[in-house]
Symmetry: C2
């Protein structure tokens, strides 16, 4: 048996572990006693057009075609719809021949990194970063190199990055809006990043790719704009998923978009196709490919998340917690009230508050709070967050 | 960029290549001029219960739960339904805790082999075998060792296998009903295989696993029974898919069942979970997990395939072609009428007949004919098969 796989299976991701614990505890003590902030499972219903489209396809389409294999890279009409939407909204060149439909963001990342990396390569990620990046990089034969971000803003620390890039650097993972910090990288950050990668690619005589993980692109508040990376850096591979924007995380539907401006873009796209094949992805689920094609430009009602963010962030600050109020995604990344975030999370559990320690996101001393839950649960949880703060001697404003 | 992935992407599977050629030629010359026998895309509609269940779930279930993440190993109720069905129909021990839902058979195989194999291991497959086994074995760090089958019956040649097993053998892939031969392994074959693997596992002091690829289990004709392998050999991992039995190939839904009797079954199951995680599979598509749970024991109308088989096999024989009339799946594996199957397929193309050379299945000198097409297309194609035989000087009975 394979040791790495056994270890990945037996030491589940911390998030999944807490999620399973929460389900068990809710069964034992009652749902109202558990405040599960562990999982990024959207609480807002998919927009109405999703159900309408599913019903229409099921009623009107010939079923063997509807549920049949698509081309490995995805149904052509679907890829065309996505390319047209990218061109229209982002003003960048896009083309169906550079889009590869996937089973969601995790598949997009694993496939992209496997297409780009060779054994011994390094992939840089900016902490805090999504815990599974390490797993995906290692599947591609590479090593994940985590880098600290600016501790005040969680923007990329470009001077740290300059020192970290080496002859082995194959790719840099960008995730904005960020999981778990919620931070959106500014145009200034993106510009500096692109300039540095251009310089370093020349210096080392190898293309350093940006792999950008974008499931939260549409989950932004207060009119913030998320820069589209192919506009700033040609060697970019966009990994998109409809999990959050259409509230379809279980359906596993997303895509990879290789910038047509990338060096050897055609070859890179073929390597993406090859990696999908090697990893056992025959095609992305057919019914949902056709469904999302009809939902371009539609997003679940994110105003609920915005209200949740405001309610929770403002209350936590008033209780004495320290946090950056984020512009996007549905996470708060909060300073733990003691040095050891694990110990802090254990104490929070006494009040039924299930939080995820930041250590697994590469940031010790923080916790992630996923606020994609019902506003009611947030309101009911606040007295417990307050008590938790009082345990640490925080005085209340 | 990764060379292996680029090559896998640029040299597409021969089957996919012919399929894409067929689509293009049909556009140019008209659909009635092309007889595409290349792809195993079911032509029989999914049974009515599939659509009914999909509509019911969409109308009745709360959408964020319906489309939400399931546990990584799959929804518990779904896994329970599958385990109960296996126990009831096969009379073997099964359990939800040993079932892992997947995105179809290719995912099941890639995950299983990745869970079992270590770098340098060997995986044995019996020719003719599904072309992608080589790719999946190599993703798992192993080397595929193809073995010839009995040329008269396409049953496993156990004496050849005895010589081929080495200290590096990690697994043997079994595929019955077989793609591309359509042959069902008899109880006698399975018994001999199990006894040999038991003996060799002891001899080498390592467990040799059977990985059994079973998408065609229900596609059998004339009351033939397909032996259930966990009954004969404890170290068995069953890879199942609903692609063919429910005519849902594009929806990517299937499962892995680790026999609870396997040595270290619990650990092996965890390695399966770990491999799914490493390869980027977060969970199998949620809506279709719930759909197939309600369709246990239902199969698309396979009588159409049986009639196709009889019509085509009998006609081809009467034209002078040599073939084993198979008991299952929806393929005929036919002797090419010249030594070079590629040249034979090129000649067949002149008549619009799109066949797949056997070389990629590990059997030179044969072609695969996928008869999961409309009976009408088969009838219209027969005169061309006859002309093709006449080109080779075959006299007609």
């Amino acid at each position: 048996m394979n040791r790495r796989m056994y270890e990945l299976g037996s030491r589940r991701s911390v998030i999944r572990e807490i999620f399973e614990y929460g389900k068990k505890r809710a069964q034992q003590e009652g749902k109202d006693k558990v405040f599960d902030f562990s999982l990024g499972n959207p609480s807002v219903a998919p927009p109405a057009i999703v159900k309408e489209t599913l019903l229409r396809l099921l009623q009107e389409e010939e079923p063997t075609a509807l549920h049949g294999y698509t081309s490995a890279q995805g149904d052509l009409a679907v890829r065309r719809a996505i390319a047209a939407y990218i061109e229209k909204t982002q003003g960048v060149e896009a083309d169906a021949d550079y889009i590869y439909m996937t089973c969601g963001a995790a598949a997009s990342l694993t496939i992209s990194l496997s297409a780009i990396c060779n054994a011994g390569d390094e992939v840089i990620a900016f902490a805090p970063y999504f815990t599974e990046y390490k797993v995906f990089a290692e599947t591609a034969g590479a090593r994940l190199v985590p880098l600290a971000s600016d501790p005040e803003t969680f923007q990329i620390d470009v001077s740290l990055l300059e020192k970290a890039i080496s002859a082995d650097t194959a790719a840099v993972i960008v995730n904005s809006p960020n999981n778990p910090s919620g931070v959106v990288y500014s145009e200034e950050t993106v510009g500096k990043l692109a300039a540095l990668l251009d310089k370093k690619s020349r210096e080392y005589g190898r293309t350093i790719y940006i792999v950008t993980d974008e499931p939260y692109r549409e989950l932004v508040y207060g009119g913030v704009k998320v820069p589209y990376l192919t506009k700033y850096y040609k060697n970019t591979v966009v990994c998109y998923s409809y999990s959050k924007s259409l509230s379809l995380p279980g359906e596993r539907i997303g895509y990879i978009f290789v910038s047509p401006q990338a060096e050897n873009a055609k070859e890179l796209y073929l390597a993406v196709c090859g990696a999908g094949r090697a990893l056992g992805y025959v095609c992305a689920p057919s019914l949902f490919q056709k469904t999302i094609a009809a939902c371009q430009g539609v997003t679940a009602d994110v105003s609920v998340y915005e209200k949740n963010r405001d309610l929770l962030a403002d209350a936590l600050r008033s209780y004495g917690y320290r946090l950056v109020k984020p512009d996007g995604a549905f996470y708060l990344f909060v300073r733990a009230l003691e040095e050891d975030a694990y110990a802090f999370c254990e104490r929070a559990k006494r009040y039924g508050l299930l939080l995820v320690p930041g250590d697994d996101f590469g940031c010790a001393g923080y916790v992630r709070i996923a606020y994609c839950v019902s506003p009611d649960m947030i309101s009911r949880s606040l007295p417990y967050f307050k008590k938790l703060a009082e345990d640490y001697g925080k005085s209340i404003d």
